[in-house]
Each structure stands twice: as structure tokens, then as C-alpha cells.
Amino acid sequence: METLWPQIERLLLGVAKPARYIGGEQGAQYPTHGPGKVAWLLLYPDTYEIGLPNQGLQILYEILNERPDAVAERSYAPWVDMEAAMRAAGVPLFSVEQHYPARAFDVMAFNLSAELVYTNVLNLIDLAQVPLHAADRGPGDPIVMAGGHCAFNPEPLADFVDVFVLGDGEEVVSEINEVLAGWLADPVDERVRHDLLLALAQLEGVYVPALYVSTYAEGRLVSTVPAFEGVPAEVAKRTVNDLADWPYPARPLVPLTEVVHDRLNVEVFRGCTRGCRFCQAGMITRPVRERPAEQVKQMVNDGLAWSGHDEVTLTSLSTADFSDIENTVRDIIDDPVHEGRVSVSLPSLRVDAFTVGTAAQIQKGRRTGLTFAPEGGTWRMRQVINKLITEEDLYSAVDAAFSQGWRRVKLYFLIGLPTERDEDVLGIAELGKHCVEIGRRHSKSVTVTASVGGFVPKPHTPFQWFGQDTVEELQRKVNLLRQAAQPVRGLTVRWHEPAASAAEGVASRGDRRIGAVLERVWRNGGTFQEWSECFNLELWETALAAEGLSLHEVAHRDRDEHEPLPWDHISAGLHRDFLWTDWQDALAEAAVEDCRWTPCYDCGACTEFGLEHVVASATPPAGGSQGTGQDLAAGDRIPVRLMGTRA
């Protein structure tokens, strides 16, 4: 394989942030390619700065490079200036390690973390000089794969991606590699791509869209079913049972240039059972699987020594819920090996004074801002979305934050939620105003920022049936909120572009027909659609119209109970009737409690896969209600498996 570096380096003096394209990170691997080794190119379809820290990609990078029969390199989306320079000079997409051409790899595997990157996926396949449509690829072309949370509705990308992988990748990536190695052992003119796809479709967690056919009636999807013998009617996600088996990344990549999340990340658990109804991640990653605290501490110590970082983030969907989080954090801070220089950050704080107290202990010297996510402006709204934070919880947390030296508090909210009324939107301003008043008791210079995003319903959640707000309605609500907040000194409202929520909705819940829409948006120049300077809703509306579709049909329309959904043949374990019941509960403003500490609701995530929650302690974390509204003293049974025991 020949490196493209001599051609690439000539382009780099003329583009912004050229360090994005040079690789050379600490932890980068330079494997020797050759026969008997499946060559994987792991791609993040957004800029280097966004993509490099991605933990899923780094985990697979290490696992594959440890295998004797695999090699893995990485690639990211070149920014528009670099793409133009590459196309003008005829330079195809390349890996950042050895600058090998992407098309020379056996696999191009995309991480899909957000829907608005889909047009970048198309662009990268094209920039790699690989046929855009899966149907046009031959035995010498790379297999295009995709995984990540967005793969739970694979249909919008079905035309372009050969193989989707659902759920945790740690185990299945090796199974896929073995199948590929066998197929690649044959000379290229004897390989039949269809045979490979059939073989891969036998693996659990692997979905090959070309082996299924979607039928439509009266402009709506009827079903997506296997088109070949021996292809499963439903594909269920993969779940790693014990995180302790996978202490990855062990050699996290340390970039040469600035990226987002420029610190060590250690994942402390996977899954979440708080049951927030808007949250796809919380639904599709169940059950909760904690990493043993000892292993967390070891990974922190090793990672800091390896990287030279002085900050570590303990990642998960709700890190304050990690069993014995307080002692774990304190042990890290107090470990003499760090010479008192290390700070720990928790990405998502529970809204209670206790958690703030912990945060005060660990964020030494960097007390700039603290973020809470009440998500809804009124208690009624928060019951609908099952984010059970009482006003008292929030106010005591904010009071604790201001009293302990923070001057800025940021509050995250969603607007455009089901059943939302204007009073719920105005409630955001009320909460913000009250938080400013609390802060004034401690300091004159406090600021509170209410950050507002337009809600986009996601597959495999109770809100998957909900027709999202139109751009106009979201804009009206934003304006309403801005007017209400405007007279309040110290309160700032920030909002996400409502038009982008509409396009995200199309990519999020669309069926296979959205493939042609994505292709039109891309062909008309619509890359980097999650970047406000590049986003253009008109491209999407024009493309939808050309395909006989509309924003209303795909994004803004309520679905009824029995309407076939594009992801009905994809399973995250969650029973459809559980989700429907939860949706009806939401409409009735009825909340459900966290199932780690209460009896099972039979959502399906555990029972479907013979799993249980794995936690280190049956005692819920200290801190009163922890914002759940649950009576945690109740109950004499442990609905979880304790770490180190077998049920």
C-alpha cells in the first residue's frame, strides 16, 4: 500500500488547522498491513476535533489492533477547505496514521453518533472513491459498516451502508473480523459479495439492509422483511455483560492539537434506568453495568500516567449514580501519585445539594460554571418526560453551587416536548429567574444561562410516536421564552436552531426512502449539516419534495399505536407494548421510578438477553431523593445483581 502523504502535505499549508490531517497522536498505531490481516478504517464522520475523543472508536481501534489477523487505522471528515483542495488535486480520503487511501482498506466502519452527520457519511464514501451505493460495490471494494446509537434506525442509510452493527461492539467486532478474514482469503475474482453479506447476517447484532425489502402502501411503510432464506426477521443488539472484561481504551489517544473533551475519559458504567422518556441513549443501552471501582481507579491512574493529562472525566449517562461515587472520586483525588494536581469532572450532575458538595471537593481551582439538566420548565412537564426533579431539588442544588463559589450556572431544557403548553415554556424563565435570585444572596455577579434545544423524538423511546413541533412552533416558543427572560438581569437564554431539529427529525425517524433525500441534500452541497455555518433546511425541504415526501409526513406527524415503524425489525430489547404503555403514562402525566431500586417493569432489556443490572451496591447512592422523588427507604428486595455474585 502506498502512502498519499507526499500529495497531502502539499495541500496543508493552504488549509485551516492542518494538524487535523497529520495523525501522530500518542497512542496512534502504525500496523503492518498484509495478507491474512483484515484492514479496518474506523471513520468518524465529523471533524477531527469532534471525532478524535470518541470512546467507541478508540475501544475498537485497540481491540482490532491487538488481533493478529486485523489492523485498524482512523479517518475523520476533512473540513470543507481541505475537501475542496483534495478534490482539486485528485487526492482521495486517507487514514491519518499512514495516510493510506481509504479505498485500499477492507472495511470502512463509521461511527454514527448523530443523525445530521449522515450526509457526511455519503461524502466520505464518495471522497474515498468507493461506489456510493452498496448495490454498486464489487468484490474489490471495501465493506461499508456503521455502528453507534443512530444505527438503531439504520433505514435512512440502508442504500449506502453494507452492514450495520447494533449495540456494544467489543465482542461482535471480532466475530465479524473472523468472517471477513475467511472471505478475504479467497482471490478477489473468486469472492462473491452476497455470500459474505449472508454470512455476516448470521451473526447476532449484525443487520445487512440489502437482505431485506421494504414495502409501502398509500405512501406509507408497510413492513421491512427478509428477502432471503436464513436471514433473521428481527435483529437484536449486542450487550456486553461485564464491563470489567473490557478495560478499554488502555492507551487512549492523546492528540497533538486541541480537540473537544481534551482530557482523560474513563467509562464507569454503561446503561441507565432513570427512564427519561426523551432519552434514546438511556433506553437502548440498558441494563446498567457498572465497572468495578478498583478497575476504575486503576484505569484512571494508568491513563493519567500515560497521557500526561491532569484532568479525568468519569463518563456514563448518569455518573453520580455510580455506586459509592463519593469514595471513588475521593480515592482518585487523594492518591499521592497525582501530587494533588488532578481534577475529576462528572459530566452529568444529579440535581441535589449533596452532589454539588462532592463537585466542590473535586473541582479544585476551576470553579467556573456548573451545569444542571432539569429539561422541563414545570413539574407537570417533568412528569411527562419522567425527569423527576422537584423545584426544591433544583433550588437547593443551585443554592449549594452559588454558596460554594460558583458564579455561573447553566440549565439545560428541551422545548417542543409532548403535551407542552406555553406555561411550561414560560416555566423555564420562572426557574431561571428564581435561580438568579438565589444566586444574588451569595454574589452580585451571578449569571444563569438557560440553554434550550428543540426536542426530536428518537426510535426505541416512548416518544417515538410523537409528531415533533414544526420549525415555526419551536421558533414561537423560543421567542416567548426570550420575551419572558429579557427583563431578568443575570438570566441569558440560548437556543438551538429550530430548523436543524426538523432535519434531524427526518434523519432520525425516516424509512428507506430517506436515502434518496440524503443523496439529494449531499449532491447539492449539504455536508456538515450539524454546523450552523453549513446547515440549510431548504436543501432538505427541496429534497423531500422531489421524493414525494414532506417534513410533515416524516417529522411532524403523530404515529398511531399500530403504524409500522421503520425500525420494527431492529430490537434494543425493549418491548413495543412497554414503550406504548410508557407513552400513554407520559400523556397521563404519570411517572415511573428507577428500576434499579424498584421492581421490574419488564421493559425487556434484561429479560430479552438474560441479563441483569450489575451494580456494586444495592444501596442507592446517598443524597436524599437524588431528584427522583423516590422513597428510597422502601423495599426489601434487591432487584439487581451485585457485582461478583451470580444470580
Partner: protein, 254 residues
């Protein structure tokens, strides 16, 4: 604020190859991480957001290489082991990315001026495309003969017009043969450029030659301190592991 007794160590290092596309700020962060991993007891600032007391010399423009970059670090005198100096360059080179090689370290007097103040001029080797051979030679001669060389530059986000002629101390074509980069002929230029009052970047210099001269590669080969009519490098490559203090009066005149 309590002052920790400190010694000042000066490091000389290269920045060559792929790593030339990282920024000055990126290099600063690489050093911070390398020092932290090396356990050299760098003094940290007091206050709200403590940071290691490192002082970098003249920023090297992103995309340019260098055979002599410098960095001063304040090291806790009580915790510092002078005998570690001999092995420090190798140890740090191993912790820094490929292309960054630590060539020398020495202790310098606390009273010496900062690298930013002291370095008065730099030598550059440039490779250009577009205009080569005699045509390039003519342009160089014309530039040297001109009373002023006005170039457009960006300063703090605003376009300014500057006369860079006073800062061009020497300029010559070093090679007139037919060397190439890929299929293109390359012209090689040596330039000696002043750093005060405002440094001239290779791209600034070339813009005075015309828009058809394209910079392909630039390497800063030397940085010079001038004192009493003599010039010195802030630290020579042969200054490996010297302790105690290197006085620049003992330096080698060029």
C-alpha cells in the same frame, strides 16, 4: 504569593516533519504533558488556575519546521537534581512526538532576558514553487534593491500594510540547479530576518516577491541573540547537560 526558589532551565529542540503542521499553542501543550510525565519538578503558578511556568520563544508559524526552538522552564530548586540534566534530553525526546528532538538543556541565569526579548533575528531556509531559477534570482535582487517592501498582513484580525524591508537583513538564492518537488521545480532561498519590532514570517517575505511565488517549505535554522556586536544562539547543540549556569558571554560567536 510565596515565591518558590527556582532555577531556570533552557531547552533547545527541533520541530521537523509532519509535526510542523501543529501550532505554537499545540507545542506548548505537548511540552506541558511531557514535563508532567517526566516528573521534572516544574514550578506552577499560584492562584485560581495553576499552570506550569514555561516561557516559549518566538512563535514558529504553523507549517514551518525548525532546527532550533527554545523553551525556558522554572524548576523547583529544592526538588531538582542537577545530575538529571545529562539524561533529560533523551528522556523528554521519548515523551515528545516524532519530529521533536530535545538537543540540549542547560541552566541559565534567572536575570537573563526572556527569549522573546533577546532573540533579535532568525535564519530561514525556504523552498518555493512557481518562480525558480534566474527569474527568482532577479526578484530577490529587486527586493534587496528596493527602498521599501510593503506587504499586507493580518494583525489582530485586521489587515495592515507594513514595510518589511528593514527586517530583511540578508537574502540569497542558495541553489539554481533543477531540484524538484514531485514534478515541480523548486527554488531554494536563505533569509536572515529580524524579529523586532515585529517578526517577518516566511509567507510575509514571499508575498513581497509576487503572488506567483508559492511557499512549499520553510525551516528556521537558527535564532540569534545579539550583544556587543557579537551574536550567539540561546543555547548551542553542544551545550548538552551543562550545569551550573551558562553565561552567554561564554557563548560561541558566529
Amino acid at each position: 504569593m510565596t515565591e518558590i526558589p527556582a532555577v531556570r532551565l533552557r531547552f533547545r529542540f527541533t520541530k521537523t516533519g509532519k509535526i510542523r503542521f501543529t501550532s505554537h499553542r499545540d507545542v506548548a501543550r505537548m511540552w506541558e504533558r511531557a514535563f508532567w510525565r517526566s516528573r521534572l519538578p516544574i514550578v506552577r503558578s499560584q492562584g485560581f488556575n495553576p499552570h506550569p511556568l514555561l516561557s516559549f520563544g518566538l512563535a514558529l508559524p504553523t507549517g514551518c519546521e525548525s532546527l532550533g526552538e527554545y523553551l525556558d522552564a522554572r524548576v523547583d530548586e529544592a526538588a531538582y537534581d542537577p545530575s538529571s540534566l545529562a539524561t533529560l534530553p533523551e528522556q523528554l525526546s521519548d515523551l515528545l512526538p516524532e519530529g521533536m528532538v530535545v538537543q540540549a538543556v542547560a541552566r541559565v541565569g534567572m536575570a537573563e532576558g526572556s527569549l522573546q526579548q533577546e532573540v533579535a533575528s532568525c535564519d530561514w531556509e525556504l523552498e518555493v514553487l512557481g518562480v525558480v531559477g534566474e527569474e527568482l534570482e532577479e526578484r530577490i535582487e529587486r527586493a534587496l534593491a528596493a527602498p521599501s517592501l510593503t506587504v499586507q498582513r493580518e494583525r489582530k484580525g485586521r489587515q495592515t500594510e507594513d514595510d518589511i524591508r528593514p527586517a530583511v537583513l540578508a537574502l540569497a538564492l542558495t541553489q539554481t540547479d533543477g531540484s524538484t518537488q514531485g514534478e515541480y521545480p523548486v527554488g531554494r532561498i536563505k533569509a536572515h530576518l529580524a524579529t523586532h519590532p515585529r517578526g517577518v514570517r516566511p509567507s510575509d517575505l514571499l508575498s513581497a516577491f509576487g503572488t506567483d511565488v508559492v511557499l512549499a517549505r520553510a525551516c528556521r535554522t537558527h535564532q540569534w541573540i545579539e550583544r556587543d556586536g557579537a551574536r550567539f544562539e540561546p543555547l548551542t547543540v553542544s551545550g548538552l547537560g551543562t550545569d551550573p549556569v551558562v553565561e552567554h558571554a561564554q557563548g560561541r560567536a558566529s
